[in-house]
C-alpha cells in the first residue's frame, strides 16, 4: 500500500478487508436515518422560526440544505460502496436475450 494507510493497520499484516466494507455499509444504513431525524419533527421544528436569512425564510433554507447534504452524503457513500463491495455483473446484453430473437 502506498500513500494513505488505513488506521489501525499494523505493520507487516494485511489490512482487515472487512473493515472498509463494514464502514461503508454502516454509512449507507445510517444516512437515511439521519435524514429522517433531521426532516421530521421534533428536530425540524427547531428551525421552524419566523426569520429570514438573505431574504429566504430560515425553514426553507433548512429543508433544502438538509436535502442537499443528503445528496452529497449519498454520493460519498455510493462511492465507498462501489470501492468496497462486489456487486453482481450486469444482466446479459439485450441482443443475447431470448426474447429479441423473435425479430431477428
Amino acid at each position: 500500500m502506498t500513500g494513505r494507510r488505513r488506521p489501525f493497520q499494523r505493520e507487516g499484516r494485511p489490512a482487515d478487508p472487512g473493515l472498509g466494507v463494514r464502514k461503508a455499509r454502516d454509512a449507507a444504513l445510517a444516512l437515511p436515518l439521519i435524514g429522517m431525524i433531521l426532516t421530521m419533527p421534533p428536530v425540524a421544528q427547531i428551525f421552524a422560526i419566523d426569520a429570514e436569512i438573505g431574504g429566504v425564510p430560515v425553514v426553507l433554507g433548512y429543508v433544502f440544505g438538509v436535502w442537499l447534504l443528503l445528496v452529497i452524503g449519498a454520493r460519498a457513500t455510493g462511492k465507498r460502496i462501489l470501492d468496497t463491495e462486489t456487486l453482481p455483473e450486469p444482466r446479459a446484453q439485450a441482443g443475447k436475450d431470448a426474447g429479441s430473437d423473435a425479430e431477428a
Binding site: L29, P90, A98
Partner: protein
C-alpha cells in the same frame, strides 16, 4: 394566446420525436451496442418518471395553497433512495433473480406463486392508478385550455386519453420481451425527464430574475401566511413524507422502472444520489414560482396553472410553449409507463390464467399465447386510460392536482405491508397477505377513493354526511367517530393500520404452505442463495417434448429453440432435446415467468410436469439456513482468532529460532577464534624449538612453559565448552544436597582473596548463620561464586574497588547478591552478558573466553536456581543468585540413612 392548431402540431411533433428516440433505442438495444442506453444516467432519468404533471403543475399549486408541504412528496423518495441499502437493493436483486415482471408478480411469487394474490394486487394497482391517470388528463386538458382559451374540457380530455392510449400501445406492446424490459421506452422517458426539468428550471429562472428581480426581491413578495412555521411539521407532514416514500417503492410504474428495467445493480448506486438531486432541482423553484404567481397574476387564477400562466400573462409565448411541452412530457411519461406496467399485470395475472385453460384444451399453434397476451395488453391499456377518463369525468376534473395524486399514493401504500413482510419476515403467509390487502384496499376505497368522487359521485351524499343507513360511526371520512383529522391522514391511518394488523395477525395464525415457505426463504435470503437453486427443493417429472411445446407456445418458436439448444448443450446432449431434469424444469419456469409472471408460469409448468413434490427435509434445511449461517460465521470468527493467535506464536518462535541460529553461528566462529589463539602460540613456539637448536637452556625452558600454559588454557577452554554444552543439553546431572551457605561463601572468598589482594579490592561479606542450608552442589556453587567474584575483581575500574556480598533468606528461596562499585553492567547489556563468548565493553583482551557467566547461569538453573542481573533505581546493578532453601538437615538425613 397561442392557436390550438400550433399547440396540436407542437405536441404531435414532440410525440414523433419521442417515438423516434424509442425506436432507435430499441434497435440499438437489440444489436447489443447500446452502452449509453444502459448507463446509470439513463436509469436515473427513467426513475424520474416519478415527477408527473402533479409535480410540474401541482407542486406550485400545492405551494401556493399550503406552503412548504409540497416538499414532502419529494422528501420521501429522497430518503428511500438515499437509504437504498435497506430495501431497494434487495428488491432489485430479487427482481433479477426471480425474473419479476411487476409488483403484483413480486407479491404473488413470494407467497407461493399465488394467482389470487396477483389478481388482488393488480386490482388495487389499477384502482389506485386511475385517479393518477385522471390527474394527468386533467393537467393536459387544463394546460391546453389555458393556452388556447378553449372551454370544451371534457371533449379534449377524451381525445387526450385516446391519443395517449394509442401512443402507449404503439410504444409499449410491440413485442413481449423475455424480461419485460423496454429499452426504447426507457430512452424516451429519459429524454422526457430532461425536457421537464429544463422547462421547470426555465420557468423558475424567469419567475425569479425575469419577473421578481432577484432572490431577495421575490421572497419580499411572499404573502405573510404562505409559510406558517408553527403548522408545517405536523401530522400531515409526517404522513405525506411516509406516503411518498411508500409510493416510490410500490407505485407500479416506479417498480417497473426501478426494479424491472434495472440492467445493472451498480446503477442503483448512482441513482441513490442522482435521483434525489433531480428531485431537489425540480423542487428548487417551486416556492418562487408560487410567489410570483400570487404576486403578478390576477387574483383568483388557478394556482395549478401558475407555471403556464406566468409566461403567458407576460407575453413570453416561447416560454409558455416550453412549459406546455414540459407538462406534456410529465403527463405522457407517467401515462406510458403506468399503462405498460398495469397492462403487463392484467395480461399476466388476469388473462394468462384463462389462456392456459384454452391452450391446454385445444391444439393451439406455436406462439399463440404470445399473440393473445399482446392483444390483451393492448386492450387493457385502452381500458386503463378509459377508467382514468371516467374518473376524471366523475370527479368533475376540478380538484387540486396534489389532492388527487395523494389518493393514488394511499391506494398503492396498501401493497407495502405484504411487500416488506415478504422480503424480511419468514412468518408472512399467503393468507395474511391476502387478508391485509383486501382489508386495507376496501378501507381505502371506502374512506378515500369513493368520497373523492364528490357528493354526487358513486356514494350517496347522505352516506358522506350521516354515514350509511344513518349510522354515524361508519361515516367514510370519520370512521368510528374519528372526526377532525385530515382526510388523507384519516384514510392512511385506517387503511394501513387495518392492513398491517390483518397481515400480521392472519400470518401468525395461518399455516405456511411448503411452496410459500420455499419462496419466502429464497426471497429473504436472496443475497446468500445462489441464483436459481430452487430446483434443489422441488421434484417434478415431465416429458421433454411437452416442455418444448409449452416453451414454443409462450416464448415463440425461435426463442424456444434457442433456449432448448442452450440447455441441451449445457447438459452435454449433442442432438435432440435436453433431459427433463429438475434443474431444467426450474430454469424453464424461470424463463417463462419472465414473460408471463411467476404464478402463470408455475401453473403452466405444473400442468405439463404434473404436481410437484417439495422435499420436506430440504425445506427444513433452508428454514434452518439462517441459523446455520449464524453458527458458521461464529465458528469462522473463532477459527480466525485462533489462527491469528497461532500465527503470532509462530512468528515469535520463528524469531527465536533465527536468533538461536545466529547465536550458534557466532558461537562456532567464537570457538574457532578462541581455539586459534593458544594453538597459534603453541605452534609458533614449537617451531622455534624444533628449528633453532642453538637456543639457550633458559630460553628453551621459558618457551616450553609457555607451550605448557597455552596447552592448559586450551584444555580449560575445551573443558568449559564441553561443560556448557553438557549443561545446556541437560546431560550433566548435578546432584543436589544441603550445603551450608556460610561455608560456600567463605570458601569462595578465600579462593579469590589472593587475586583481590593483588588488585587491591576489598571484599566485605555479611556471613549468614551456619543454620542456613541451601539445596545445591557445593563445588558447583563455589564455581559460580568464584566466577562472579573474580569477574568483579577483574573488571572493577573504580579508584577504591570494593565488593560486597549480601544474602537474604525469604521462605523457600535464598538469595546471594554480589555487588561491586565498578559501575556494573548497563541495561542494554543485561541479557547479552549471558551469551557465550560475549565480552563486556570493559573486557581486557586475553582475560577469559566469555564463557564464565553463561556457564554459571546454566549451573544455577540446573540446580533449580537462577543467576540474574538486578538493577537498582539509581541505575547501578549487581548479580544475584537465587537458590532453594534446604529444609533438610544433613545430620538428620544421615541419621535417617543409618
Amino acid at each position: 394566446m397561442l392557436s390550438s392548431d400550433l399547440l396540436l402540431a407542437v405536441a404531435l411533433g414532440y410525440v414523433i420525436i419521442l417515438f423516434t428516440v424509442a425506436f432507435v433505442g430499441d434497435r440499438r438495444a437489440r444489436r447489443g451496442g447500446s452502452r449509453w442506453l444502459r448507463s446509470p444516467l439513463v436509469y436515473t432519468l427513467s426513475i424520474s418518471v416519478y415527477c408527473t404533471s402533479w409535480t410540474f403543475y401541482g407542486a406550485v399549486g400545492s405551494a401556493a395553497r399550503s406552503g412548504l408541504e409540497f416538499v414532502t412528496i419529494y422528501l420521501g423518495p429522497t430518503l428511500v433512495f438515499v437509504g437504498w441499502w435497506w430495501c431497494l437493493r434487495k428488491l432489485v436483486r430479487i427482481g433479477r433473480v426471480h425474473r419479476i415482471t411487476s409488483i403484483a408478480d413480486l407479491i404473488s411469487s413470494r407467497y407461493g406463486k399465488s394467482p389470487s394474490l396477483a389478481v388482488v394486487v393488480t386490482l388495487i394497482a389499477i384502482a389506485a392508478t386511475t385517479p393518477y391517470i385522471a390527474l394527468q388528463l386533467q393537467s393536459v386538458t387544463l394546460s391546453f385550455a389555458a393556452i388556447t382559451g378553449a372551454t370544451e374540457e371534457y371533449r379534449s380530455a377524451f381525445w387526450v386519453a385516446a391519443g395517449m392510449a394509442a401512443f402507449t400501445i404503439l410504444f409499449g406492446t410491440r413485442s413481449i420481451d423475455a424480461n419485460e424490459r423496454h429499452h426504447g421506452v426507457v430512452a424516451a422517458i429519459a429524454v422526457e425527464a430532461v425536457v421537464k426539468l429544463v422547462a421547470l428550471l426555465a420557468i423558475g429562472v424567469f419567475a425569479v430574475w425575469g419577473l421578481g428581480g432577484g432572490v431577495t426581491a421575490i421572497f419580499a413578495e411572499m404573502p405573510g401566511d404562505m409559510i406558517e412555521v408553527e403548522k408545517i411539521f405536523g401530522p400531515r407532514w409526517v404522513t405525506l413524507t411516509f406516503l411518498s416514500a411508500v409510493a416510490v417503492l410500490c407505485l407500479p410504474r416506479q417498480f417497473q422502472v426501478t426494479v424491472v428495467e434495472n440492467a445493472d445493480e451498480r446503477h442503483l448506486v448512482t441513482a441513490s444520489w442522482m435521483f434525489p438531486l433531480y428531485l431537489f432541482l425540480m423542487s428548487l423553484f417551486v416556492i418562487p414560482i408560487a410567489i410570483a404567481g400570487m404576486a403578478f397574476l390576477p387574483p383568483g387564477s388557478n394556482p395549478d396553472l401558475f407555471v403556464l400562466n406566468l409566461p403567458l400573462a407576460h407575453g413570453q409565448d416561447a416560454l409558455a410553449l416550453l412549459a406546455f411541452i414540459g407538462g406534456f412530457s410529465s403527463a405522457t411519461s407517467m401515462v406510458i409507463v403506468a399503462a405498460i406496467a398495469l397492462s403487463t399485470m392484467v395480461s399476466n395475472h388476469m388473462v394468462a390464467p384463462f389462456a392456459i385453460k384454452i391452450l391446454m384444451k385445444g391444439n393451439a399453434a406455436s406462439g399463440d399465447v404470445r399473440e393473445l397476451l399482446l392483444a390483451s395488453r393492448r386492450v387493457s391499456i385502452g381500458i386503463i386510460l378509459g377508467l382514468g377518463y371516467v374518473y376524471y369525468e366523475l370527479s368533475g376534473g376540478t380538484g387540486a392536482l396534489a389532492a388527487t395524486g395523494l389518493i393514488a399514493f394511499v391506494g398503492v401504500a396498501q401493497i407495502l405491508p405484504s411487500m416488506l413482510g415478504g422480503i424480511f419476515w419468514r412468518g408472512a403467509t399467503r393468507a395474511g397477505a391476502l387478508a391485509g390487502l383486501c382489508g386495507g384496499g376496501t378501507l381505502w376505497l371506502y374512506t378515500l377513493f369513493l368520497p373523492s368522487l364528490g357528493p354526487d359521485g358513486l356514494l350517496p351524499t347522505m352516506w358522506l354526511i350521516d354515514g350509511p343507513f344513518g349510522i354515524a360511526l361508519l361515516r367514510p371520512q370519520a370512521l368510528l367517530g374519528l372526526a377532525g383529522a385530515d382526510p388523507i391522514v384519516h384514510a392512511t391511518v385506517w387503511s394501513l393500520g387495518v392492513n398491517a394488523v390483518l397481515f400480521i395477525g392472519v400470518s401468525a395464525m395461518s399455516r405456511i404452505e411448503p411452496l410459500d415457505r420455499l419462496q419466502g426463504a429464497l426471497f429473504i435470503d436472496v443475497f446468500r442463495s445462489p441464483e436459481g437453486e430452487s430446483h434443489r427443493f422441488i421434484r417434478r417429472e415431465a416429458a421433454s417434448e411437452d416442455l418444448y411445446v409449452l416453451a414454443q407456445r409462450i416464448l415463440g418458436a425461435g426463442p424456444a429453440r434457442a433456449l432448448f439448444k442452450e440447455l441441451a448443450q449445457a447438459q452435454g446432449v449433442v442432438r435432440g432435446l435436453p433431459n427433463p431434469t429438475d434443474a431444467l424444469i426450474a430454469r424453464l419456469e424461470r424463463e417463462l415467468s419472465g414473460s408471463i409472471g411467476a404464478a402463470s408460469a408455475h401453473a403452466m409448468v405444473t400442468r405439463a410436469a404434473g404436481g410437484e413434490v417439495i422435499s420436506l427435509t430440504d425445506l427444513m434445511d433452508i428454514a434452518d439456513e439462517t441459523q446455520r449461517l449464524i453458527e458458521t460465521s461464529a465458528r469462522l470468527a473463532d477459527k480466525t482468532r485462533e489462527l491469528e493467535r497461532t500465527a503470532a506464536e509462530l512468528r515469535k518462535v520463528n524469531e527465536r529460532l533465527r536468533r538461536l541460529d545466529r547465536q550458534k553461528d557466532d558461537f562456532l566462529s567464537q570457538v574457532s577464534h578462541e581455539l586459534r589463539t593458544p594453538m597459534t602460540s603453541i605452534r609458533s613456539f614449537a617451531e622455534i624449538l624444533r628449528s633453532d637448536a642453538s637456543l639457550a637452556p633458559g630460553e628453551m625452558r621459558r618457551f616450553t612453559s609457555i607451550i605448557h600454559d597455552e596447552a592448559l588454557r586450551l584444555t580449560r577452554l575445551l573443558d568449559e565448552i564441553l561443560d556448557i554444552s553438557r549443561l545446556e543439553a541437560g546431560h550433566a546431572a548435578i546432584p543436589l544436597r544441603p550445603v551450608v551457605l556460610a561455608d560456600a561463601l567463605s570458601g569462595s572468598i578465600d579462593t579469590v582473596s589472593a587475586l583481590a589482594r593483588e588488585a587491591g579490592v576489598t571484599i566485605t561479606a555479611d556471613p549468614p548463620p551456619r543454620e542456613l542450608w541451601v539445596s545445591a552442589d557445593s563445588d558447583r556453587l563455589r564455581q559460580v561464586l568464584i566466577n562472579l567474584l573474580s569477574n568483579a575483581i577483574r573488571y572493577n575500574t573504580a579508584a577504591e574497588p570494593r565488593i560486597e556480598l549480601r544474602w537474604r533468606a525469604d521462605g523457600a528461596r535464598v538469595e546471594v547478591d554480589v555487588a561491586d562499585n565498578g559501575g556494573g553492567v548497563s541495561r542494554a547489556e543485561a541479557e547479552d552478558i549471558f551469551a557465550k563468548f560475549w565480552r563486556g565493553s570493559r573486557a581486557v583482551e586475553g582475560q577469559g573466553a566469555g564463557l564464565g557467566l553463561p556457564i554459571s547461569r546454566a549451573i544455577m538453573r540446573r540446580m533449580g536456581g537462577d543467576l540474574s542481573v538486578v538493577f537498582e533505581d539509581d541505575g547501578t546493578s549487581f548479580f544475584r543468585i537465587s537458590l532453594a532453601n534446604s529444609d533438610r538437615h544433613p545430620q538428620r538425613r544421615t541419621a535417617a540413612a543409618e
